[in-house]
């Protein structure tokens, strides 16, 4: 966490007062929450009344998917289609498919190309043929695994013509890319605290005031009635401090990490034969920051012939912490649904590694990675190729 966010959190933890209470301590807490809301709104180009505080990004995504579906259906029962890209985070895909199983939703999965870019023609065709049945569209601002930045403006402009609201999961984008809710034309947007140096378990859904949103959590009616629960005053303040700092630092950080990432990509390609960069080829240096097609901090490779769990173990034991895509609940690395949607075959998808850079990453970290990576890949390849050596199964 950012020191300023820790300071804000710990200062508030010592204070009493429920922000919904009417006595002096409650009013003080309410003031803190509302100032945090205003700070968040200002940082993200939203109005304070558009900020619905949640317990993290996953909850915000669930509120968006379920709340928008039910809200739209209440207005027009024929709107049962949920249009999502095939590379959404599970926090969007899983509630969408849950709604298909439990609430009569129909899922339309938008395909992506080999770089993870959403197929706008497929979206246009869907809206042309079934636009009056679409409840909403959800397209992530930038993909968490391969870093692809979505053409949000194009999606919004297509959706507008058919009066279909659009949600974007922007958890990965805040602090990496410029994000302005009002300018984007989006109807709802998910933010998370822990990705920007704020506390885990904090987040928000930015939702336009006129958006029909059915509550998912019921109770005391907090957060304009769509998200009940005693407000987390320390979390709200710390979250707002972190988002504000991340947004202010974004231009400088993005430029620095882009250069560091480009260096990492070039050196991995040179040092490891067969390493394949997945996701879009980063634009050449000097392109305007607003035109970034890939998250500045993201580099993602597949290493054919290697198992992700071998790479993970070998790098972990060499002091390099990276990610092999998403792990299931038991901790088994699964072939990524993002890579599979991009057309990567299952064998290659198993040898995937994501390197994420952060505020504290330096050139020395890239040097340390390159010092061990070629040997690690060689060793993982030999382990990956081990076959049944004794008598095989009868």
């Amino acid at each position: 966490m950012r020191p300023a966010a820790i300071e804000a959190l710990t200062a508030e933890l010592a204070r009493t007062g429920n922000a919904s209470s009417l006595h002096a301590a409650g009013r003080a807490a309410r003031r803190t929450v509302e100032e945090a809301r205003e700070q968040l709104a200002a940082a993200l180009g939203a109005r304070p009344s558009e900020v619905v505080l949640t317990g993290g990004g996953t909850e915000a995504d669930n509120l968006a998917v379920k709340g928008m579906f039910w809200g739209r259906r209440a207005q027009d029962p024929s709107r049962r289609r949920i249009v999502v890209t095939a590379i959404e985070h599970h926090a969007v895909l899983d509630p969408a498919f849950w709604m298909a199983g439990h609430a009569g939703a129909e899922i339309v999965l938008l395909p992506v190309d080999s770089a993870g870019r959403v197929d706008l023609d497929a979206l246009a065709a869907e809206l042309e043929t079934s636009g009056d049945q679409v409840a909403f569209i959800s397209v992530m601002w930038a993909n968490n695994e391969v870093g692809t930045v979505s053409p949000i403006a194009d999606v919004v402009s297509l959706a507008r013509r058919h009066h279909v609201p659009v949600h974007a999961d922007a958890v990965q984008a805040i602090g990496q890319l410029p994000v302005d809710f009002a300018a984007s034309g989006l109807d709802a947007l998910t933010v998370s605290g822990h990705k920007v140096g704020g506390p885990h378990g904090t987040g928000a859904l930015l939702a336009r005031r006129e958006l029909a949103l059915t509550p998912v959590l019921h109770g005391g009616g907090q957060e304009r009635g769509v998200r009940s629960g005693t407000l987390d005053t320390p979390g709200a303040r710390s979250f707002a401090v972190a988002v504000d700092a991340a947004v202010r630092e974004q231009p400088e950080l993005a430029a620095r990490l882009t250069a560091l990432r480009d260096d990492l990509v070039a050196r991995v390609r040179a040092a490891v034969p067969g390493a394949l960069l997945r996701g879009p080829e980063p634009r050449a240096a000097g392109a305007p920051a607003a035109a970034a097609n890939r998250l500045p901090a993201n580099a993602h490779f597949t290493f054919p012939g290697c198992e992700g769990d071998s790479l993970l173990y070998l790098l972990d034991s060499a002091g390099v912490q990276c990610s092999t895509g998403s792990a299931c609940q038991a901790g088994v690395p699964q072939p990524s649904h993002v890579l599979l949607a991009m057309g990567v075959d299952e064998g290659d998808a198993r040898g995937a590694l994501r390197f994420s850079l952060g505020r504290t990453s330096t050139a020395a970290d890239v040097d340390a990675l390159l010092a061990v990576l070629p040997g690690v890949v060689d060793r993982a390849r030999s382990a990956g190729l081990s076959t049944l050596t004794a008598r095989s199964a009868r």
């Binding site: 070998l314 972990d316 034991s317 038991a330 901790g331 081990s386 049944l388 004794a390 199964a393």
Partner: protein, 387 residues
Amino acid sequence: MKVLAALSGGVDSAVAAARAVDAGHDVVGVHMALSRNRDQFRTGSRGCCSIEDAGDARRAADVLGIPYYVWDLSEKFEQTVVADFFAEYEAGRTPNPCVRCNEHIKFEALLDKALALGFDAVCTGHYARIELRPDGSRELHRAADLAKDQSYVLAVIGPDRLARSMFPLGDVASKDEVRAEAARRGLGVSAKPDSYDICFVADGDTHGFLRDKLGARPGDIVDAEGQIVGAHDGAYAYTVGQRKGLAIGRPAPDGKPRYVLEVQPITNRVVVGSAADLAVGAILADDAGWLAGDVEPPVGIGGVPSRDAAWFDCSAQVRAHGTAVDARARVLPGGRVRVELTGDPGSPGLRGVAPGQSIVLYDGTRVLGQATVGATERMTATTEVRE
């Protein structure tokens, strides 16, 4: 040494890993995911395959302060252990999936991967002892606690893999001692129930599991003379020696209970007879593998033994928790072995031995080798087994 400790989530593997840490090894914990579709919670006496078990393994690694990873070996498990399980039952044989898992998964897929990644050995919570010979080679022996001894299911791993294995629980006096040690070390699994059932068969219902995969295949139950005495839904569901679950309409002439003597997959018939007909006098077994170099026959050109191997005395065990009986054995060409029971005629001997079971040969507590039962010869008849 750099040691990979296989952590099932149970108490034995956790204590084994702890002992490897105490011995000064550089230990890394690995939990094998053997199923793609795991249940959230452990049910019945299956021991390793739920997400809860993976969580228990992770907590054990936390307490021991060792790194922890999950390796997905589910595909290989499906291709070897599970596929073999179905194929063997379908062929009228009785497989031992725990033996096949040790052969193909724990001491092959896992061990090979560990060695390739730079480990020196794999450590498990099996109850068996390894003894070093003066020449540096290793002997596999029964565990000190004979009630928990698992040398039977380990005999298949062969000398090269035994050389890369560690069984730190071979010397413990009892499972209670392991549980007490786990509690002393603060391992939360100290009171976790033992596992007995086949890990990939839900509810322990082997018959139902086979029927779901292989379907109903109605056929006849016949006596030794070929008279139809009943009907069945699938011969694959029967095991030699089985008494329960036989739908027999006509009582036996002698009024005594009847047992499965033979499963005939081609004619889809189940042959039944008396308990006396189950007594086995000799066993011809295939795919022999030896842990004791002095038993292996001298191999000549083309892999054929250059001379007839001699008979040697041993004891033979055909079930994981069965007792061993006195026998003599002789190695035959083609990786086969003939075992003849030599116990006195009054002893219980071996009853109801099914093709597909593992037969393990011992010299005292020492494992000599193992093979897979191919055919049996009754005490009274001698026509069925040809060498």
